[in-house]
Symmetry: C2
């Protein structure tokens, strides 16, 4: 008998995680298991279990019933573990190899057992250390196209699509996004967190009615437009990679939302990384930005051509309309992400980690400036090249 | 013991409907009940039960497990009875008096027991007979504003809104709309049904790529935009009225969709009625068209001002943006409804009932012409007055 038969939630310890792993029929009977908790402890435990005999390993991820953010403890649904596991499986159907394999799930214990990716690094950390991920942009472009196209009305029977919309209803995690990305940073809200030196820039945002109108539209889109099963939190901290591999992890914010949201979040996190760099090092990331959209859009078009079941798929202009909308939305969402990562509750090390005060403050102001431009000009910016030009403008 | 305790679906007869009614504790013990089935028998039985002693009456509506359309029999989910009853109750919370009261529901038997409205007439029939409904437009304007605003993200906590989105997931009935309103009429599809004399006009629609592109966008909106709990089928056959009362019935197509859809369907059915009339009789309906939008938009604004919980409610331009989008969407959906009621599977008596061949064919061509104009020009038409002008153009 193993812990797996228990029906009451209880958080694991490293010792109990080993017992749990032994019950999985994954390791051989004579395995010598060791365990280390490697999560950041904010939302989940992440147990890394290894067998020193075979060299095999697994990850046991357990959702915690609360979120620790800036010292506060928020209760948070354990249902997110099932959402995450189901999203990994659903996305894995279409983008196999780009998400971790799920070996087992346990809804009562809010546990997902999955592929050991400990040979990879978290992309945000790697990029900050100037590591190179030559496959990152094309892999993410493919991942985005495959997962988003295949879960949309363009590919699914409407009954299956609507079944998935209900299955992935994710109100609590969506509310975090609604508040922390679309609302709080644009008002003088207690969750905001920014350095005193940029207060004037922040106050300019709070009083910019044109900007807030556009953010209100983007928030409405996030609240209402069930276009595809999103990852929901696709920043560079949700991606493991090496020079040859890319794996998208942690889709606990998965839900049916606007396709541009996943793309926008990823692009924004590349933009933040670009502006934190100097000179030629920026070019690598600018190239990632271009390539992500180019691979996404050409892969999406390919899928449209070969797999779309929509009656209007061949109607002149429809595919272009859909891709234009996705692009425009993505820029707007990217703008919101840039602003909230600079002045909202959840910061990123790309910015906060810049040791030089002057450079850090300048970069944060640039993040706000680009964020505003992307939100306000998203309908005028007609190509990914134009986004790169916008970034290059900063250094003229 | 009454039939109500049975757990197996079985369709009622008039006699069994009386037995069922006796088990409801609605009529007194000495009631003398009579029953008449008054439905059109396509989708549901509608039993009208009356007590000749007290004069009291009720309606027992029972969903049938199939739909009879043009001789064919389609299996159709019985869950729609629960959707309909729940939508009546939910809409009744906000628009009491404008929907029938629900006295009881029985999910196993797919039964809803509700207020007897037999003193009222179906608006489509009444309008065709030139009956007058002085309160129709303002009542429907209020109904639309209250039901749609209160079930939207502008009024509901996001958890409650998302709970309702799942509760009212209605794939089978939505698919009927997706096919019969947004797809089939725009392609040479076997479900279409039109008079040979308008074949050239129909073929012009099938080959009009600009029109089809706009319909594709409207269909996408219907498929993805969960703005509010719609009635889902708000034509003039779904409304009972008299000179002093208005009751919206039959929300079995209810689901979370774009707000403009309910408004557009109602407007389209008024437009069809307008063009089927001559001379001064048209003015009555043109006035209904104007008044419906005016009452809806002023009531919606009032609710926005006093009840909206959205953080951006006071952001300059946001309310206007929302109302503009609703208006534009409504015109587009109205255009689709006009076209499908003329050449699709489900016709209306306003058109088919015109005895004079020449007049009928001319009116059908006008319906197509206005439908196309509303779809193609929906972003240029800036006011409900402009819709009236568009209709008046036909007679210049």
């Amino acid at each position: 008998m193993t812990i797996a038969t228990k029906k009451q939630y209880e958080s694991l310890t490293e010792q109990r995680a080993i017992l749990y792993a032994e019950g999985l029929n994954f390791f051989s009977e004579d395995a010598k298991l060791a365990c280390r908790e490697i999560g950041d402890g904010n939302l989940n435990y992440v147990f890394h279990i290894t067998d020193s005999k075979s060299g095999k390993g697994i990850i046991i991820k357990q959702a915690l019933p609360y979120a620790k953010v800036v010292g506060e403890s928020w209760p948070l649904t354990l249902k997110r573990a099932a959402i995450e596991a189901n999203a990994l499986k659903k996305h894995g159907e279409f983008a196999a190899g780009l998400v971790p394999k799920v070996y087992a799930t346990d809804e009562e214990l809010a546990i997902t057992v999955m592929e050991d990716l400990s040979h990879l690094t978290i992309v945000r950390k790697g990029l900050i250390q100037l590591e190179s991920y030559p496959k990152l942009a094309s892999d993410i472009g493919v991942y985005l196209a495959k997962t988003l196209f295949h879960t949309s009305d363009f590919a699914l029977h409407p009954f299956e699509k609507k079944r998935l919309v209900s299955e992935f209803s994710n109100p609590e995690l969506c509310k975090i996004t609604e508040d922390l990305i679309f609302t709080d940073p644009f008002f003088d809200h207690e969750t905001n967190d920014f350095e005193p030196s940029i207060r004037a820039n922040v106050e300019a945002i709070w009083s910019n009615e044109s900007l807030k109108l556009e953010v209100a539209k983007l928030k409405k889109s996030f609240l209402t437009e069930a276009e595809a099963l999103l990852h929901g939190d696709l920043h560079t901290g949700s991606i493991f990679a090496s020079e040859t591999e890319t794996k998208v992890i942690d889709p606990e914010f998965a839900f049916y939302g606007p396709i541009g949201f996943d793309i926008g979040l990823f692009l924004a996190n590349l933009i933040v990384q670009t502006i934190s760099r100097d000179g030629e090092q920026q070019l690598v990331i600018l190239h990632h930005i271009e390539q992500t959209w180019e691979v996404f859009s050409s892969e999406f078009s390919e899928l449209w051509k070969n797999k779309a079941i929509e009656s209007y798929k061949d109607t002149k202009g429809f595919e272009e309309y859909v891709l234009d909308k996705i692009f425009t939305d993505a820029l707007g969402f990217a703008g919101c992400e840039l602003i909230r990562r600079t002045i909202g509750l959840a910061h990123v090390n790309d910015l906060d980690g810049i040791a030089d005060d002057e450079k850090r403050i300048l970069t944060k102001k640039q993040a706000l400036q680009i964020g505003e431009a992307l939100i306000l000009k998203r309908k005028e910016i007609k190509s990914i090249k134009a986004v790169v030009w916008l970034l290059e403008e900063l250094y003229k």
